[in-house]
């Protein structure tokens, strides 16, 4: 069977994921000193969207930062569209999505690595533990909150390491000054270095205690995507768990036309969340990222997503009017 053309929704999703990821990275780079004495505070936007941070901070300290009301927006949309946040917005999720897509291997191997796994419940237990601790005053969810984890890893480990590498490379070229006769490589590399210094590199090489552990943990979570698709998002993420709880009964649901389905199970191969889309009775809304891969991959066009509140004919119920 020829591979179906990727649906436009999938392309849109990839676009928004890339957009939010680049936005996060841009805001990360902007979190520096700006003259005179102004901090780039942009990345706090993501923390304000994060209901896990809002909930835990409120539970532990009984204080609420006004800007965190934005997280109610996230929760509201989650009620309707389940874990769309994980699929379309979360920049850490986008990172894991990217590395998951780098997996080589045949569809069969991906199936085995991508199907639902009982251990996916672990993140819910983790969430419960965090919430109980927070209720008792200990707010430690920041260890595993995806934005905290991502930003902390970038700021204390990954970015300093990349900075060291780039500066080292350009310093080596500058000192060794390779070239042929009057033509030197530095003619090309120095302008590039100037550009990087202005827009990307740190003003001064940063160093951080504990950067090794933080860096290794980060790299581990990324590498684990090669063993299980979107490992962090499925097994670890407490924000994912919270959104899974809130979004366990979404309005937008997966619909399967059983007559069209030929049980090829192609829908399972690229399922990001491990939500078992092949059987509509077993589809897990709390694991679904609404990535639309199943709908896009289905050669028989048997899968679709539809809003519950639309006018629908149900098998065992008479047609009803929707009260709007």
């Amino acid at each position: 069977m020829a591979k179906k053309k990727t649906s436009w929704i999938v392309w849109l999703r990839r676009l928004t994921q890339t957009g939010f990821f680049l936005l996060f990275c841009y805001l990360f780079l902007q979190t520096v000193y700006h003259p005179i004495n102004k901090a780039g505070r942009g990345v706090t936007f993501f923390f304000n969207l994060d209901p896990l941070v809002a909930l835990n901070s409120w539970l532990a300290s009984h204080a609420f930062v006004g800007a965190m009301l934005l997280s109610l927006l996230t929760l509201a949309v989650t009620l309707i569209c389940g874990r769309w946040f994980c699929g379309w917005v979360c920049p850490f999720g986008a990172l894991h999505n990217f590395f998951t897509s780098l997996r080589s291997g045949r569809a069969k191997q991906k199936l085995e690595a991508g199907g639902y796994n009982q251990w996916q419940k672990a993140k819910y237990y983790g969430l419960v533990a965090f919430l109980v601790a927070a209720l008792l005053g200990a707010n430690v969810v920041g260890w595993l909150d995806p934005f905290s984890f991502f930003f902390r890893s970038l700021s204390t480990s990954i970015y300093p390491a990349i900075n060291k590498g780039l500066v080292g490379l350009f310093t080596w070229i500058y000192n060794a000054n390779p070239g042929v006769g009057p033509v030197r490589l530095t003619v090309v590399t120095e302008p590039i270095y100037g550009f990087l210094r202005k827009y990307f590199l740190a003003v001064e090489q940063p160093y951080y205690w504990g950067s090794m552990l933080i860096g290794v943990l980060f790299i581990t979570t990324v590498v684990l995507n090669f063993f299980r698709a979107r490992f962090w998002c499925r097994y670890v993420c407490p924000l994912g768990a919270l959104l899974g709880v809130v979004g366990k009964n979404p309005l937008v649901r997966l619909k399967k036309n059983q007559e069209k389905c030929n049980s090829c199970r192609l829908c399972l191969v690229d399922c990001q969340g491990g939500a078992t889309p092949d059987n509509p009775l077993e589809w897990k809304p709390s694991e679904c990222f609404y990535c639309w891969n199943c709908e896009s991959d289905c050669p028989a066009k048997a899968i679709s997503f539809a809003c519950e509140l639309k006018l629908e004919k149900k098998h065992d119920e008479p047609l009803v009017q929707v009260d709007r």
């Binding site: 003259p35 005179i36 003003v203 001064e204």
Partner: protein, 311 residues
């Protein structure tokens, strides 16, 4: 050796008031009148508003340099000039911990007017450069005057032979040494170890390495550095001076208005004059005494017949 010859020559020339004078470190044309080697410009009033002080800074700087024969004496056509202000601390101009930005801007303008190809303004500060450069106002003022304000590139510090009495070699910023001219523009401040920090101490901002070790012998090390760099021109900003708790300051009560600019070619004489503005005797400052003893310049600035101007 050459230094002593030139100094003697100049002293003789000025005292004799005869013959053709020459710029101390070479000039483009012979002058009919001997050019002074040190000038003191003093402002008659002491304006309080920002615009007034800016105007004062511009006029004083211009007059002080004109009194020495104009910037053409120090900067030639197509020169690359390194202007070295004190941008060492994350402080505002009125706190007198950094050079007056309008003094710097005026010098930049004058360099370009004298035909300079490029004027670079920079410093190796004690507080982070990203903070001190804009807060001192120097970055904005210098850029507006057309200078290239540089944040130092770590790769360009090179070990160089200083061949001084104390320092044999030290890490120096390459581009500052390779520039055609170096103009030293410090601000006059109190300093608890050496009493006053002016031109020679300001040269610590063109070097790298473990500078915090130099304090073990400031008298010797600063003279070594001054002899190595030999700035073409030293311009002392004494519009505001820091009289106590320097060189960082912070308390506006420690800032006094002297409304003066001193310009000169003799590093020792200029610093000696500057010391008197703070009320210190030049022979109580180690690096001035040693500079004089080692022939870097003269502690007796009066012997150079400073040109005094009231603006």
């Amino acid at each position: 050796m050459g230094k002593i010859d030139r100094r003697d020559f100049l002293t003789t020339g000025v005292l004799a008031g005869a013959g053709l004078g020459m710029g101390l470190l070479g000039s483009d044309s012979l002058r009919a009148v001997p050019a002074p080697s040190i000038s003191i410009a003093h402002y008659k009033s002491s304006p309080t508003e920002t615009d007034g002080i800016a105007e004062e800074a511009r006029r004083l700087t211009r007059q002080a340099i004109e009194a020495l024969g104009g910037m053409n004496r120090f900067v030639s056509k197509a020169n690359i000039v390194w202007v070295k202000p004190d941008i060492g601390w994350d402080r505002r101009p009125e706190q007198a911990a950094t050079t007056n930005p309008d003094v710097v801007a005026t010098l930049v303008e004058m360099c370009y007017q004298a035909g300079a190809k490029k004027v670079l303004v920079s410093d190796n500060p004690c507080n982070p450069a990203r903070l001190s450069f804009p807060r001192s106002g120097i970055q904005q003022a210098a850029e507006k005057a057309g200078a290239e304000v540089i944040f130092l590139d770590e790769r360009k510090f090179r070990k160089m032979s200083i061949n001084g009495k104390v320092l044999k070699e030290w890490e120096v910023y390459q581009d500052a040494v390779e520039a055609d001219r170096l103009i030293n523009v410090p601000i006059v401040k109190n300093h608890n170890l050496c009493l006053a920090t002016m031109g020679m101490k300001n040269l610590m901002g063109v070097i790298g390495g473990p500078r915090n070790r130099l304090h073990q012998d400031l008298g010797g090390t600063l003279v070594d550095l001054a002899a190595f760099f030999k700035p073409r021109l030293v311009v002392l900003d004494a519009i505001r001076v820091l009289t106590a708790n320097g060189p960082v300051g912070g308390n506006l009560a420690d800032v006094k208005r002297k409304d003066t600019i001193v310009a000169g070619v003799d590093q020792v004489a200029v610093d000696a004059l500057g010391a008197t503005l703070l009320g210190y005797k030049p022979d109580s400052i180690g690096y001035i005494v040693q500079g004089n003893a080692r022939g870097l310049g003269t502690i007796n600035f009066n012997s150079l017949s400073p040109k005094q101007i009231e603006v």
